[in-house]
Amino acid sequence: MGSFSEYLANIGRSIVTLGDGLAVTFSYLLRKPFTIQYPDRTEKPVVAMLPERSRGILEIDINVCTGCSICAKQCPIDCIHIEVVKDEETKQRVLKRFDIDVAKCMFCGLCVEACPVSGLRHTHEFEGSMSDVHRLMLSFVDKPQPVAKPAKKDEPAPETKPVGSIVRKLLADWWKPANPTSGGPR
């Protein structure tokens, strides 16, 4: 008789446990969905919903950059390319190139932590899909310009452009034909 009671117990257990599982799934029909319907049916653009520290595409405010290249040294995968030359006439150091290869960048934030003037920062921009990987090279320097002087101790830190404004402009430029003098495949 033992095995027969086992037989019945099996059936009973199945009905109870399966029934309770069904109750859970049915209860979800009567709850609100959890989905966020990216990209359009959201309260505001998803970029604006990201938390403060969110690490998106990198950008550099050239007007603050002192050309110290610490970020490039910190970068574990060498996705930052900086070229600083000394102008013979004015004896000034001139920033010729500041490129960030977003295709390589792994958004680790080590460069941002290292930047002494907080010119390099992560934006919240993340929508940067491209059909050509070479276009993912962001060039922040259009024409060579002298590097900024680091602020003295008692001076207030220089004004920086709002976070994201520079990179948004560059992302828009991605759709333009490639500029042979800056960025792009070499």
Binding site: D78, V133, H134, P185, R186
Partner: protein, 204 residues
């Protein structure tokens, strides 16, 4: 940690009847076992009730081109006594060969396969010594310090086209004694089919 390790090492040395080279640097201390006593030492470490190292944490290789050796390092641990031991052994870099400990701990089968794959250490007695992480037709053992990254594998370039080539070459301080050609080709069973084709399915 150090004193405990020293005592364990002493016990092991007593059982083996040899004097073990016990090294202490920063971090963990370790004992150097002569290559010919390697398997015996591992068996003793497992079976001796005072030691009973039943858990092989890891087994890996370390390339020392300056000394002309490839070290094989085993991290042992005992769940009973909650003590750990690190043992090293040296194999000749030009023809690295070591007795397999896969019969001591079955976990060693895969660890030895990995070490064979990345360092080319030939573990005699391992039942299944094949490449594990790299494709079976790969040439060379990449974790050796004089390994040079190939330009391409089966026609697939290893660098993104259009980008500056930044390969990693040998990381040697001084030129190392030349290691003979990789030993994959002279594996016992011939006719290894490349990974990813149906032919390799019945290999054993």
């Amino acid at each position: 940690m150090t004193t405990a390790s020293k005592e364990i090492c002493k016990k092991l040395a007593d059982k083996l009847g040899v004097v073990l080279d016990f090294r202490e640097e920063a971090g963990d201390p370790w004992a150097l076992i002569p290559a010919e006593r390697w398997k015996q030492a591992c068996l003793t470490a497992r079976d001796e009730p005072e030691l009973s190292f039943n858990f092989l944490r890891s087994l890996c290789g370390v390339d020392r081109p300056d000394d002309g050796v490839i070290e094989v390092v085993a991290h042992l641990f005992s769940y009973q006594h909650r003590h750990a031991l690190v043992i090293h052994t040296n194999t000749d870099r030009s023809a690295s060969r070591l007795e397999s400990v896969s019969s001591v701990w079955p976990a060693a089968i895969w660890h030895e396969r990995e070490t064979f794959d990345l360092f080319g250490v030939d573990f005699t007695g391992n039942p299944d010594l094949r490449r594990i992480l790299l494709p079976e037709d790969w040439v060379g053992h990449p974790l050796l310090k004089d390994y040079e990254e190939p330009d391409s594998y089966r026609g697939i370039p290893t660098t993104r086209p259009g980008y500056e080539k930044k390969k990693f070459g040998p990381q040697l301080k001084k030129p190392a004694p030349k290691k003979p050609a990789p030993k994959v080709e002279k594996k016992p069973e011939g006719g290894e089919a490349p990974k990813g084709t149906a032919g390799s399915a019945e290999q054993k």
